[in-house]
């Protein structure tokens, strides 16, 4: 039986209600997707080969972009912070300023954004194409869980590789700052690294670590989710890939603020 027509005055409320229900459904599916991935992480069978493949895909193949962006971020920081500090006669603090900026903030965020652009988008496209070409259905009807082969290894690899890539980004960035501050602008090497040792402690390193670890989970969660529930055809894959990159990038920045406000 057809539903009775909704009176005009009630229509806006109906639309708001429908959109709200849709939003709650999507959030529920998004959340249960992650929960299922977490459960698969701690219950056998474990797909070690798939995990190692993902480490290579997300981690190793992002190394060049991490080194490149890390180096230039450090060099820009070295230049700009040095100019700012010179106005206050505090050039000696260039080392800790560069290191703290990178370790606490820029390293985790920029490394995560770079890997989102390179590996996150590729992950969504790959899983999306597997969906539209029925490869995911093929796994399902073989009585094999697509989650264990595609989603769980990716999220686990993200959690493992993001902190490592962030560490690399930080180290390369610090040396980028050193190149500009010490080699180019003439600050003493001992001051650059000595002051860094004085002002940077384990709390700062752990802040960056927890951020990068959570970014790894967020980026791979979003990328695999968008690929898994892709629309139809090539257009669906293209849309899902764009959405994955945009959503992951926004979530990185929002989560960064949240983590920054609760971590010491």
């Amino acid at each position: 039986m057809a539903e009775p027509a909704v009176p005009v005055v009630v229509r806006p409320f109906e639309i708001i209600g429908r959109r709200t229900i849709e939003l709650i459904e999507v959030l529920g599916r998004f959340g249960s997707f992650f929960l299922l991935a977490l459960v698969s992480m701690v219950t056998p069978p474990f797909k070690t080969r798939a995990f190692v493949d993902r480490l290579h895909y997300i981690g190793y193949r992002s190394l060049l972009i991490i080194i490149l962006t890390g180096a230039f971020t450090g060099m820009v920081l070295g230049l700009q912070v040095s100019l700012t500090l010179s106005r206050f006669g505090s050039e000696a603090f260039l080392g800790p300023a560069v290191a703290l900026s990178l370790i606490r903030e820029l390293g985790p965020v920029l490394a995560a954004l770079m890997v989102t652009g390179r590996a996150g988008s590729a992950l969504t496209a790959e899983i999306g194409i597997m969906r539209i070409t029925e490869q995911i259905d093929a796994l399902t009807v073989m009585a094999l869980s697509p989650f264990r082969y595609l989603v769980t290894p990716s999220i686990l690899a993200g959690i493992v590789t993001f902190p490592l890539m962030t560490a690399l980004f930080d180290v390369v960035g610090i040396f980028g700052g050193y190149l500009v501050g010490v080699k180019l602008l003439g600050l003493s090497e001992g001051t650059y690294f000595g002051e860094m040792r004085t002002f940077v402690d384990l709390h700062d390193v752990m802040t960056g670590f927890w951020k990068s670890l959570s970014f790894g989970a967020i980026v791979t969660w979003v990328a695999t989710y968008k690929g898994f529930y892709v629309g139809h055809g090539a257009e669906g894959v293209a849309r899902a890939t764009t959405q994955a990159v945009v959503l992951a990038s926004v979530l990185i920045l929002v989560w960064d603020y949240f983590m920054g406000s609760i971590l010491p």
Partner: protein
């Protein structure tokens, strides 16, 4: 034995299946024919447990799979082999690895035994020597044959074919049909096939069922379907265009 009773399914209020009844006897080849958009693929997905119906039953060897949880459904799927429309081969694996995949993941067989079985299956589908190639490096017809080899490598009781010859030339269509028939005789599996290939499927099928507007409108041996007085069946098998009022 596959027994389907009163299967209904709607998407967004639009009915696709309106009460499908069908029996598929053990060891037979049943071909489901019907116009595009008539619900054949949706029906097949219900048999595979990829979709849940709004109402009705799908009995596989006495078990109604419409209410099974994922673990119990996986038990049923242990007896399945599926050939998807596009083959659904894993792009990142070679043809050999594609065929070996179910054996490696679902059995305790050693590498030598797996290699032996895979080579044997590839040879049966006429593709000995192409194991090292990736799916992207072989033709559409070869991909379908690799998909058939993969579906049969675990010697399943029931094999589902979703339009296995779509997009192939007439010679390849007959080659694939003959291959399916040969393998069916060799292994005795129950086959459920969705196909558009008229009249070729009449030489292949034990039973033909026509699905039209969400219902089975005719079912029987090929000769009975070819001689069916139902105008919808006759229009379809003759390929006559639909007359608009």
């Amino acid at each position: 034995m596959i027994k389907v009773r009163g299967l209904t399914k709607s998407f967004g209020g639009q009915p696709v299946l309106r009460g499908v009844d069908l029996d598929v006897p053990d060891g037979s080849i049943t071909v489901i024919i019907g116009r595009s958009g008539g619900g054949k693929s949706v029906f097949l997905k219900h048999l595979l447990g990829l979709l849940r119906p709004d109402s009705g039953e799908v009995m596989i060897n006495g078990t109604d799979i419409t209410h099974l949880g994922s673990r119990a459904m996986d038990e049923v799927r242990q007896h399945y082999g599926v050939v998807f429309q596009g083959g659904a081969l894993f792009d990142s694996l070679t043809c050999f690895d594609n065929v070996a995949f179910p054996l490696r993941e679902k059995t305790e067989l050693g590498p030598d035994e797996i290699a032996k079985r895979v080579e044997q299956r590839l040879e049966q589908v006429g593709l000995a020597g192409v194991g090292a190639k990736y799916p992207a490096e072989i033709s559409g017809g070869m991909r379908k044959r690799v998909a058939i080899a993969r579906a049969l490598v675990t010697e399943p009781e029931i094999v589902f074919f979703d339009e296995p010859t779509t997009g192939l030339d007439p010679v390849l269509v007959n080659t694939i049909h003959r291959l399916i028939l040969t393998l069916h005789r060799a292994y005795g599996f129950t086959a459920v096939m969705v196909s558009h290939e008229i009249p070729e499927i009449f030489e292949l099928a034990d039973t033909v069922a026509m699905l039209h507007e969400g219902r089975i409108v005719a079912v029987g041996p090929p000769a009975a379907i070819q001689g069916s007085p139902n105008p919808v069946v006759q229009q379809f098998i003759r390929g006559e265009p639909e007359l608009k009022a």
